[in-house]
Amino acid sequence: MADLMQRMDRALNPRVVAVVGDKKPYTWLRNLQPFTGKVYSVQIDPNEIPGIEEMGVENYPSLTAIPEAVDYVICAVPRQVAPRVLIDAAQAKVGGVGMFTSGFAETGEELGAKLQDEVVRIAREHDIVLLGPNCMGLYNPRLGVRFSADQPAGEGGPVGFISQSGTHAISVSLLAPTHGIRLSKAVSIGNAVVLDVPDYLEYFGQDADTKAIAIYVEGVKDGRRFARVLREVAKRKPVLIWKGGQTEDGARATRSHTASLSSRMAIWDTLIRQAGAIRVDTQEELLDTLKVLLFAKPGYGRRLALMAHTGGPSVVITDAFSRAGFAIPELTQASYDELATFFNVIGGSYRNPFDMGGTIGGPNSANLDRLFDILERDENIDTIVMDVAANFMARQFFQNPERLPEFLARLTRQRDRSAKPFITILNPAHLEAEVLPVRQALQAEGFPVLPSFERAAAALRRAMDYRAQSAVSDQLSAPATPR
C-alpha cells in the first residue's frame, strides 16, 4: 500500500504530463496552459500534428519516444486504441494515466466490457496508476493540471475532492473557489476499475496538502474495504460524503451511468455515521458544510448569540437555529447591565437575538466592538452568528465602500482573539450584484459566509455534530470498562 501511495503521489503531483490523442480544438492541451511542468503530446494523425506544434507543444508518435519520464498521461484516444496506449505507458514507465476515453463497461456492450478487462489487466500487471476510464482525471490547481479551462490555477487549498461523476468534479471545482474554498486536488474517477474510492480516500488521508475530503459517490465495488478505510481516514480528517442514487429512481440511473452497484441508503447512512464521516445530500450542503469546517474555529458549543437586524428577521433566524437543535440562551446579568449603557433599544432589543441595526449602524459602528467584547466574555455563549443583512448592513458597504475595511477589521479582531466559532450570513436579496463584492471581501478575510439562515443553521449543525462526535470518540477510544 505504501508503494501505491507513492505511485499515486507521483501521478497526482506531476512534473511532466503527456496528452495522447488530443484533437482540434486541443481542449486537453489548452487546459494545461497554466501547468508549471513540461507538456508533451502524442499524436500520429498528420492533420492534427501541425496544430499541436503551433501551440509550442512537442509532439511524439508514441509515449515511448518522449525523451524524459512522464508522470501523468491524459489519454483521449478512441477506445480500441486504449490498450495499446497503456502498453506504451507501461513500457515508458509513466507514473499514471487519466483515461478520458469512454465506451467501456458503462455501455453495457460486450466489446466495451472486453476492452475494459484488457485495460484493467495491463494496468494491474504493470502497476499503472489508472484514473478511470470514462473520467476527467486529475485537477491539481497548484500545479495547473486541469480538466476544464475554467478551473482556476496557481493556488491550491485544503480540500481533496473525489468524484464518481466528471460533471460534479468540474462543477465543484469551479463553484468551490467562488465561495473561498480552494482544492488541493480533485479526481474524477469514472469507472474506477483499477483505483476505486477507497484508494483515493486513503491517498487524500495521507496527503499533507489535504485537510478535508469530500466525496461524490454512487457506489463502490468493495464495500467492506471502503467502510474500513473511511473509518480509518475519518478519524484524522473530516470526510464529507455526498451519495448519489439515494432514491430508487436515482439508483436506476447510476447503473446506466457508471456501471456500478448501488446500495440502500440506510446502509450508507449507517456506514457514514459509524465511520464518523459527514453526510451531505446536495452540492450546496457540501460547500456550506466545508465553509464552516474550514473557516470557523473548531468549537462545538451549541449556545449561540444571534446578531440580527429588525424584528421579523430576528424571530426567523432564532426559529431557524432553534429548529436545527441550537440553544439561543439569555446572557449573564453583567452582560445585560453593560448592554443597557449603550444599546439602542428604540426599535431594537438585546436579549438574544440582538436586533442591533440601530446600535452599530453608521456613526455608532464602534459599538460593534463593544458588542463583540460582551459576547466574547459571556460564559453563556459558545458560538456567534452574525447576519450581514443585505438590505441593512451590506447596503452601507456598497453605498459607502470606505466603511467595509473598517467593518472587516472589527470582525477580524474578534475572530483572531477568540476560540468561539463565528459565522456570517449574507443573503443575496434583490441586490445580488451589489452584495457579491461584500461576500467576496468577507471570504477573502477567511470568514464563512452562508446564504440563508436555514442553510447556515444546517451547515453549522453538521459541522458541530462532526466536531462533537470526534471529541467524544477521542474519549471513547480508551477501552470500555470490562464487565
Partner: protein
C-alpha cells in the same frame, strides 16, 4: 466446536440451524442464552425439565416452521412433569394439524426466563458491505414502528454504545416509569461478542436473537435462529 454444529447441518443439507444448535453456537461464543435441550419424547422432556428446574418452556424444533407460536409450537410456564407431558403431546398434535408436511426434529426444553425488556438483535448481509448488525426493541415496536438501528460488522465498543442509544425507544431501556433500567453494558458486551462471532464465521448468512431479555444486571438470548450459507 462451533464448526461441528454448522458442518453437521450442512452435511444434512440444511442451512437453518434449530434453536438448540443456534444456542449451542452462541454459548460457545460466550453469549449467554436461556439454554435449550432437545427432547424427542415426552419422557425425555420431563427428565430434562426436572434437571433444569421448573417452570419450563417447550418449543417445537422444525426447520420448516418460521413462526412457532402461530402453529401452537410454544408452551410457556409449565410447572411440573404432568404439565410438560400434556404440553409436549398437545404441541405435536397442534403442529401436525396446522402444518402436516413440516419435518419435526423434536421439542426444545428450557427453563422459563424471568420477564425482561425484550430486544431483538439480528444480522443480515448486505451485498456491498457484508454483515450488518441490527438492534431494536422487541415485539410490536420492531414490527410496526421499525424502530431499529444498524451498524456494519465489525463493531467497536463505541458502535455498540451508540447502537443501543440510537433507537427512539431507548428511554424504555433506561427504565421508563419506575421500571429498573436495563443493563446497557451487558447488552453492549453481548453485541460486541456477536460481532466477533460473525467475523469469525463468514459462513453465517443470517442470524436472529429474538428476543433477548435485558435485565437490570444481565442480558440473555431467549430464542435464536442461525442461517448458514449452503455447503460449497
Amino acid at each position: 466446536m462451533a464448526s461441528n454444529v454448522i458442518e453437521r447441518a450442512r452435511g444434512e443439507g440444511r442451512v437453518l440451524l434449530n434453536e438448540v444448535e443456534s444456542k449451542e453456537l452462541l454459548e460457545e461464543a460466550g453469549i449467554a442464552t436461556s439454554g435449550a435441550k432437545l427432547a424427542r419424547t415426552a419422557d425425555e422432556a420431563i427428565a430434562l425439565a426436572a434437571a433444569l428446574g421448573y417452570p419450563v418452556v417447550l418449543k417445537i424444533l422444525s426447520a420448516d416452521i418460521a413462526h412457532k407460536s402461530d402453529v401452537g409450537g410454544v408452551a410457556l410456564g409449565l410447572a411440573d412433569g404432568e404439565a410438560v407431558r400434556r404440553g409436549f403431546d398437545g404441541m405435536l398434535r397442534a403442529v401436525r394439524a396446522a402444518q402436516p408436511d413440516a419435518r419435526i426434529d423434536g421439542v426444545s426444553v428450557q427453563r422459563q426466563a424471568a420477564a425482561g425488556v425484550e430486544v431483538i438483535i439480528g444480522m443480515t448481509k448486505d451485498p456491498q458491505f457484508g454483515p450488518v448488525l441490527m438492534f431494536g426493541l422487541g415485539g410490536v415496536l420492531v414490527e410496526v414502528l421499525r424502530d431499529v438501528a444498524f451498524r456494519l460488522v465489525p463493531l467497536e465498543p463505541k458502535d455498540a454504545r451508540e447502537l443501543v442509544r440510537e433507537i427512539k425507544g431507548f428511554p424504555i431501556l433506561q427504565g421508563y416509569r419506575g421500571a429498573p433500567p436495563a443493563d446497557l453494558a451487558a447488552l453492549e458486551a453481548l453485541i460486541l461478542k456477536l460481532s466477533a462471532f460473525i467475523e469469525a464465521h463468514p459462513e453465517i448468512d443470517e442470524l436472529d436473537l429474538n428476543p433477548v431479555f435485558a435485565y437490570p444486571d444481565s442480558a440473555i438470548a431467549v430464542d435464536a435462529r442461525v442461517i448458514v450459507s449452503p455447503a460449497s
